[in-house]
């Protein structure tokens, strides 16, 4: 039995962010599946693990963690500190900056489009096209900065792969399964190359299997 457990539904980009970190770190783990529709995240047992009633939750020995980015950081800190730029003030700062850009700039825009285009049907509502249009516009502005950054550096934090790059994978994987994939891929040759490199990683391919409505898997269904 694995010492590390992840609770949640792997179709969630947040749960997948945690799983990707574990896969990249080569850590043995057990995914404890939960059912959103049955309200598994609101049971007393789960609230004892995460008082906010969200997924993922990670149990690592006597440590119980929530918030996917905190989980990923813990996994890297413990098993692959180089992915956090640990030990170097410059590197760790660069990783932190681009993790913040992902969390504060890219995710809100790309995530909103994904919610409307991919998840709205499962949430029992119609797509809000106005929200999609507004967020596509925001995303275009953000991607200009990414294109400039990735023209100068192979990865976001510099010449090394980091937690910042990996943090982008799940939500972008879903975004690439929408009709707006071109917003990322077209006119951004460096973003495109960076994305394809990321998605080709064995850990990313493994985690993509949990998210069939995204990326290349979706294209295969068509």
């Amino acid at each position: 039995m694995a010492a590390v457990k992840v609770y949640g539904w792997a179709v969630s980009p947040y749960v997948s962010r945690a799983l990707l970190a574990l896969e990249e770190a080569g850590v043995d783990y057990e995914l404890i599946p939960m059912n959103r529709g049955s309200g598994d995240h609101r049971t007393p047992d789960h609230l004892a693990r995460n008082p906010f009633g969200q997924v993922p939750v990670l149990e690592d020995g006597d440590l119980t963690l929530f918030e996917s980015r905190a989980i990923a950081r813990h996994v890297f800190r413990k098993h692959k500190p180089e992915l956090l730029g640990s030990g170097s003030l410059d590197r760790s700062a660069a990783v932190d900056v681009w993790q913040e850009v992902e969390a504060q700039q890219l995710h809100p825009a790309a995530g909103a489009v994904v919610v409307e285009c991919v998840f709205a049907p499962f949430l029992g509502r119609a797509r809000d096209q106005a929200a999609v249009d507004a967020n596509v516009e925001k995303l275009r502005n953000v991607l200009r900065v990414y294109e400039a950054r990735l023209a100068a550096h192979r990865y976001l934090a510099g010449d090394f792969l980091s937690a910042a790059d990996l943090s982008h994978f799940p939500i972008l994987h879903y975004f690439m399964g929408t009709e707006y994939a071109g917003v990322v891929l077209e006119g951004h040759p460096h973003v495109k190359a960076w994305w394809e490199d990321l998605a080709a990683r064995p850990a990313a391919r493994k985690v993509a299997e949990f998210m069939p409505l995204g990326g290349a898997a979706k294209k295969q269904q068509e």
């Binding site: 008082p51 813990h74 800190r77 413990k78």
Partner: protein, 237 residues
């Protein structure tokens, strides 16, 4: 003259950085940016929102346009950074001492708990409390736009649910990450301080553990000093 510069107004996200600098006792200078005059979108400021060339240590000359012409920006010698929480971590790491270890990166468990509650502030606490600050304080005071009461009402509902969780957490722990003050607690300073200047401050009276935690934080020299700076900045605006 200080080599450490923070570009911004001593409010909100800039104050987030300042509280960290105060906690570690670093010498720094605040270069006031006039948000309303849109100085933060000027070419000079946009050039500061650049990324550091981590190999040579010198700022690269790329302009970050549009959304990244934001405040705060930060300069420490050759290092130029943006995004307030990233700046904070750099400061707390670089100027860490026996007295001021607010990230606890030397201990896996402690560091993980700091990260968890830092994320909670960023994605859950902040999203509930900041609309109230914006509607009740920033809009009427600095922008002369009336408050949207519906937004305030919805945000208060969300905030109460968040404070329910905080109340339980702080019943068993002196601070959010454990029995030690950390970056997770500091992150709450700017917007909570501003919230206390809105008509809804008394909400915290219903959460005695949260209120006690807040008062412990405000008693820290870093926060009582910055609290005075922030109050002055709002008055001057």
């Amino acid at each position: 003259m200080a080599t450490v510069k923070v570009f911004g107004l001593p409010l909100t996200n800039t104050a987030r950085v300042m509280v960290c600098l105060e906690e570690v006792g670093a010498e720094y200078e605040v270069v006031n940016m006039d948000f309303l005059a849109m100085e933060h979108k000027s070419p000079e400021h946009l050039a500061r929102n650049v990324t550091t060339d981590s190999v040579s240590g010198s700022p690269c000359s790329r302009l970050a346009k549009g959304i990244l012409g934001q405040i705060p920006a930060f300069q420490d010698g050759d290092v130029v950074l943006f995004e307030s929480r990233a700046i904070c971590k750099y400061v707390l790491r670089k100027y860490k001492s026996a007295e001021a270890d607010l990230l606890r990166e030397g201990d896996l468990k402690d560091a993980a708990m700091v990260d968890v509650w830092t994320e909670v502030e960023a994605h859950t606490y902040h999203t509930a409390i900041s609309p109230i600050v914006y509607e009740c304080l920033l809009k009427p005071t600095m922008l002369s736009i009336p408050t949207n009461d519906k937004v305030v009402e919805e945000s208060l509902k969300k905030l109460k649910k968040v404070l329910d969780v905080y109340e339980a957490r702080l019943a068993n722990h002196k601070y959010l990450a454990g029995d030690f003050v950390s970056f997770a607690d500091l992150n709450h300073f700017p917007y909570t301080f501003a919230f206390m200047a809105t008509p809804h401050a008394s909400l915290f009276d219903s959460y005695p553990n949260v209120k006690a935690w807040w008062e412990r934080l405000m008693a820290r020299p870093s926060m009582s000093k910055l609290g005075a700076d922030m109050a002055a900045a709002v008055k001057a605006a």
